[in-house]
């Protein structure tokens, strides 16, 4: 058996030829060298990167760039804001998106198709097209420059994502389970909270993490709707380093690493789900 399978495997997955290996090496270098440069600059001294004989690796590594970040009150506030807003976005999206997904997946009613269409289109609307109206709306509601403003605006792109991700997962639940719950005399609400959602907890967590990551990474809304006190790291970093023209590159790279770290941790925890979520096409790249 194993021999036959080996031959099949060799056909389906041949070994790489020499040109193939060289191509892979070059592409992998393009993918990975910038990561190396991000990490290694973060550990360099500011003077070192401006020197004539600037090294390609941190010869005299330092933590001063990271320490500098944690001594900067504005950036720390940005970091806290990022957590508050991204968690808020994830919770809101999964709460209403989970109900929506269950509804789309297991129920048929008039208006279901238009609703599904609305969210399908919703995935494609760029933030810039909502920006001005959201600004005016939030402004007249007295919500401009609040956490709520950011959570609401982030939800415009996380909600469709969460709905379709969870719909795909709940679709996989056999209808028998629901029938059985009905026969057992469980109410519809109890079925939902005691049977359906507990069965898809990994999916709910994955969806929450995706929403968190998308909120964490947004720049446009953070720059325009949050104001200096409530803005998240991407907006804070853009203003602190780029707009003011002070290009302290090692400090910026260290701050970038810190900004990316939560996402890397989430990725490592959920790598398995990421690949299937990405591959299902439900998730934006």
């Amino acid at each position: 058996m194993s021999r036959g399978r080996d031959i099949g495997e060799a056909i389906v997955r041949p070994r790489l030829s020499i040109p193939g290996r060289i191509a892979l090496l070059l592409l992998a270098l393009f993918g990975l060298l910038p990561i190396y440069w991000l990490a290694s600059t973060a550990f360099m001294k500011k003077e070192a990167v401006f020197a004539l004989d600037r090294p390609l690796f941190p010869v005299d590594p330092t933590l001063e760039n990271f320490i500098g970040f944690f001594q900067n009150d504005a950036l720390l506030q940005n970091l806290a804001n990022s957590f508050i807003v991204s968690i808020g976005t994830a919770v809101l999206s999964v709460l209403v998106g989970g109900l929506m997904a269950y509804s789309l997946s297991k129920f048929r009613y008039r208006g279901r198709n238009p609703i599904m269409f609305m969210f399908l289109i919703g995935q494609l609307i760029p933030g810039a097209l909502l920006l001005i109206s959201l600004y005016l709306m939030l402004s007249s509601a007295g919500l401009l420059y609040t956490y709520t403003a950011l959570i609401i605006s982030f939800t415009t792109f996380t909600l469709p994502l969460v709905v379709f991700l969870l719909k795909g997962i709940i679709d996989g639940l056999p209808d028998d389970i629901l029938e059985a719950a009905k026969v057992d005399g469980l109410s519809r609400i109890a079925t939902m909270f005691q049977i359906v959602f507990p069965l898809v907890v990994p999916g709910l967590i994955t969806a929450a993490m995706f929403a968190f990551m998308r909120g964490w990474s947004d720049l446009l809304f953070a720059l325009t709707l949050a104001g200096p006190d409530k803005q998240t790291l991407p907006a804070g970093l853009t203003q602190a380093f780029i707009r003011e023209g002070t290009a302290d590159w090692p400090a910026l790279m260290a701050a970038s690493l810190i900004t990316s770290l939560p996402l890397a941790i989430i990725f490592i925890l959920l790598q398995r789900y990421f690949v299937s979520g990405l591959a299902s096409g439900a998730v934006k790249g």
Partner: protein, 311 residues
């Protein structure tokens, strides 16, 4: 694709088709289904659909962040910004097209290469996901640093091997190339993962049968693997194009739309009009014209999506 998340229990007895089962649900079930949809529907109507519609209204007014009152001007905003819209549209199309083609080529190439048998394949695939993981602003900071004229590592390396330095962010062509490269680097892992997972669903019998019939390796790729991944890749490419069309962070952080307005795409231009010049009416008019284009491109995506689902 979701089996990984939720393994379906083995079926012991034949289940009636789902669609039939669902239509037997009672009226109360239908009401319940509708009720639990309401929170999301109402929320999305208020925060996304209403803003989209109301921007059409705003586009008909002379409205500024600097003045509390607004005056109706009909289509004046449209005539005022039309020339600029067309210019920005050209830039946007250039960026969106290039920043879609390169990640697709790169992602598919990597998927095919990584589909081969080799040691360390999973580690390589995992680490190559890293660029996708980074927030857009981080990608922009990083590439702005790499391309920095005076101290960037690109010019440093070029000098070391005796080649002339290049100025990327200082001239129009270089700046466009720079943002396309940065966006390519950010997007290729997504395409790679999609293409790789589709390649892995290819039934091995087909490839084996073709081999027995004497098909060479390149023929197997050309006539079996490639047709197999073309549909899903076209779908993600269309999505990628739509997202690139609306990209803001990559360009805004790296070039701010410059030098001059050589990299000012619609998103950057709309932002500058609204929050740089405070011209909300004109910015909205630009948005409405963009919305019309988006509707056309989105229809293409939806059609493609439907065709693939039927397959």
């Amino acid at each position: 694709m979701q089996q990984a998340i939720l393994d379906r229990p083995a079926t012991r007895e034949p289940i009636e088709p789902q669609s039939r089962r669902r239509t037997t649900l009672g009226a109360k079930d239908r009401t319940f289904g509708f009720m639990i949809a309401l929170p999301a529907v109402l929320l999305f109507l208020v925060i996304a659909i209403y803003p989209l519609v109301s921007s059409i209204g705003t586009s008909l007014y002379d409205q500024s962040l600097l003045r509390p009152d607004r005056t109706f001007v009909g289509f004046d905003n449209y005539t005022a910004i039309f020339g600029e819209f067309m210019a920005r549209l050209g830039t946007t199309l250039t960026f969106a097209t290039l920043a879609t083609i390169f990640p697709v080529l790169l992602g598919v190439a990597l998927a095919v290469l990584l589909n081969a048998r080799m040691r360390g394949r999973n580690i390589l695939r995992g680490t190559l996901m890293l660029p996708w993981l980074l927030p857009g602003v981080v990608v922009s900071f990083l590439w702005a640093w790499i391309f920095n004229d005076s101290y960037g590592v690109l010019n440093h390396l070029l000098t070391m091997v005796g080649l002339p330095e290049v100025s990327m962010l200082g001239n129009p062509t270089g700046a466009m190339a720079a943002v396309v490269i940065a966006k390519t680097w950010h997007s290729f892992p997504w395409i790679m993962v999609v293409a790789l997972s589709v390649l892995q669903t290819l039934p091995s019998e087909q490839l084996e049968a073709a081999t027995i019939d004497g098909a060479t390796r390149s023929q197997r790729f050309r006539y079996i693997s490639l047709p197999h991944i073309v549909g899903p890749v076209a779908l993600v490419a269309t999505l990628e194009f739509i997202y690139n069309f609306g990209n803001f962070d990559t360009i805004f952080v790296m070039t701010g739309g410059g030098p001059g307005d050589s990299t000012t795409t619609l998103a950057v231009s709309l932002y500058q009009l609204a929050f740089g010049s405070y011209e909300l009416g004109k910015a909205s008019a630009m948005g409405v014209l963009w919305l019309i284009l988006l509707a056309i491109i989105s229809s293409a995506y939806l059609l493609l999506n439907r065709r693939l689902e039927k397959r």
